[in-house]
Symmetry: C2
DNA sequence: CTGAAAGCGCTTACAG
DNA sequence: CTGAAAGCGCTTACAG
């Protein structure tokens, strides 16, 4: 097969210099318009594709960005990767991935590896509680606005507030919030946001899964039923993953969602729209966040200082069935405010529920 | 800051030629051992990091591989990305990601973009039913052994057979298999495998979600209850995502898992171990598949022809709670083989089930 | 065993 | 407006 055409081929074919070809193709405007068009045509005709390696070597820019996540296995990774890839590729950059497999030490190593590979800048989605050291290289951190010195983030607090407001508008007055661990700024923001939008008189409980698992072992039951008995009518998880755990555990115990209690999540992960009932959640504007991160990185690559102005990109509430209709009445009106009566549950015997009538599904 | 040291710096510092430094560092052995060690020490001392751009330009190899998935948003992407990244980075390669956002046309474009970016080879996980055109560039396809000419794949049929055997050993004799669409080799292999390991007399139904959704709209209920009534005791989904849909839909309808019916999935996606009950599933050996794909790619990069010998990497069955204990008896023994009696269900009234006793959870 | 030289494909002052 | 030349950092025949 014929070798990939390069600037020299074009130059020879046209009897001009490579410098002129280069200038014409890069559109720097030091070439007459007619010459430029002839060169462009020829380039197209030959199927010219610039060699990034050559360009990189002479400019010192690889036009590649690195994407490092604490854990590539995280279910949110696809959303990040897709958004960053799109933003980068729109800006003419490629995306190299790095994985630290959840290991904090490895996070820094992963970043360095990508830098050594020639990435012009790195987008980092750090592990909770991690500070990213200055590596003397353009970097954009996606985290929480509560993290000092970071570049971009969703407004997790406000996202939480949207959940809180939604739950509150549905007259929920006794809510359990489910988080993973308390040392995550993102999670704390979400929790804080939820609380902030709940009425003063609301009763709120906080559940950290990590603490439960430390005590009872990984994968243990969350023990949500007692909360229901104590009158909790809504579970607000700070991640769809935990919401899913709550939904299945509750359903399994015979609690109907949203009949008996509501469940909400965070992040609009893939299954949020697939499970029954579909999950009410709140979604980051990944596209926007990625754009800001990539733009900031490119700005830095071009010599400008890092900015921190992309903080607090609004999140979007997605209301689905799991947060369903309002409770039968505000907590204050309930008989004694005691445990929710078991008779509230709506799931009858299996065989009596065979028709799809009354189903709130799409079909 | 001081500029990144290069070969010339080392050479000057030692009063030798760059060629010697290069040879010493690349260990090609044309340098005396003592000289080599002196050079290596100096390189380390100066913190020398080879410029990939320079190397790429002179060798024509970027030491970067591209990873293209039909849809980066797919929940399996993290597993692929992690495995490929690890295999590639172990082999000294970086991984550039490409996304075709589910669009078939874009798949080819994504591949080409990565090639233009200088990727030495591409790993493709194609969309079902897609054939990857020869792009005159090293490529490794991860698909199903049923796909002609591909490079690596898990033995989906055998994975299915493991599920079938497991279900069969649990005395299930009436099984519904849930797939997405019939035009996927991977899914058909899985379905075929499941069937193959079921006893002759077993009753098997096949459910394609795409067909259901075409009829009833996206996100519609699968309508699993009628199957339960007809005596189906196990649902085998070809993906955990569909299994999850089945689990929640069944639970919501008051069907107990695994008390009343068993549910199994495929792929061991993140939530398989998190939901209640945890999901029995079968997992690809991603690490092995990635190794084979990457090794084959590197072999091709070095001039060898593509191989297709990595087909049928064994899958691993992961037994969890959802496939639970055996049915009360083989289908043939049931009263009339009619609908399963509603009294089989085990979820009592909420408030009677407050202790954790009898819980089959880890804690 | 070691070195001088050419070359990978591009960009960028610098002359003309 | 156009071109000759140098240089980015490396590798690789080819001499010595």
């Amino acid at each position: 097969m014929t070798p990939r055409p390069n600037l020299t081929h074009i130059a020879k074919a046209l009897g001009v210099s490579v410098a002129t070809v280069s200038n014409a193709l890069s559109g720097k405007g030091r070439v007459s318009e007619e010459m430029a068009r002839v060169i462009r045509d020829k380039a197209k005709e030959l199927g010219y594709i610039p060699s990034l390696a050559g360009r990189a070597l002479s400019t010192g820019r690889s036009h590649v960005l690195g994407l490092v996540l604490a854990d590539i296995g995280h279910p949110l990774f696809p959303q990040f990767a897709q958004a960053i890839e799109h933003a980068a590729s729109t800006a003419g950059y490629g995306v190299l991935i790095g994985d630290s497999r959840g290991d904090i030490q490895a996070q820094t190593r992963a970043i360095n590896r990508l830098v050594e590979r020639g990435a012009d800048g790195i987008v980092v989605v750090p592990r909770h509680g991690t500070r990213i050291a200055d590596i003397g290289h353009p970097i954009a951190v996606i985290d929480s606005p509560s993290t000092p010195g970071n570049t971009v983030s969703a407004d997790h607090w406000n996202g939480g507030a949207q959940i809180g407001a939604h739950l509150s508008s549905l007259d929920h007055r006794s809510i359990a919030i489910i988080g993973l661990h308390p040392d995550s700024n993102v999670q704390n923001d979400r929790v804080g946001g939820i609380k902030s939008a709940l009425p003063e008189e609301a009763h709120v409980e906080l559940l950290w899964i990590d603490e439960l698992e430390d005590k009872h072992g990984p994968g243990c039951e969350l023990g949500l039923l007692p909360f229901v008995e104590k009158g909790v009518t809504a579970f607000a998880a700070v991640s769809d993953l935990h919401a899913l755990r709550a939904v299945t555990e509750l359903q399994r115990r015979g609690v109907s969602i949203p009949g008996d209690v509501s469940v909400t999540g965070f992040d609009d992960l893939i299954w949020a729209g697939v499970i029954a009932p579909t999950l009410t959640t709140v979604r980051m504007n990944m596209a926007r966040i990625a754009e800001i991160a990539v733009a900031d990185l490119i700005r830095q690559v071009e010599g400008a200082p890092a900015q921190s102005d992309g903080q607090g990109v609004p999140m979007q509430l997605i209301i689905r069935q799991s947060s369903g209709p309002a409770p039968s009445g505000p907590a204050g009106n309930r008989s004694g405010g005691g445990p929710r009566p078991a008779t509230n549950k709506t799931n009858g015997p299996i065989l009596e529920n065979t028709t799809r009538e009354g189903s709130d599904q799409t079909c």
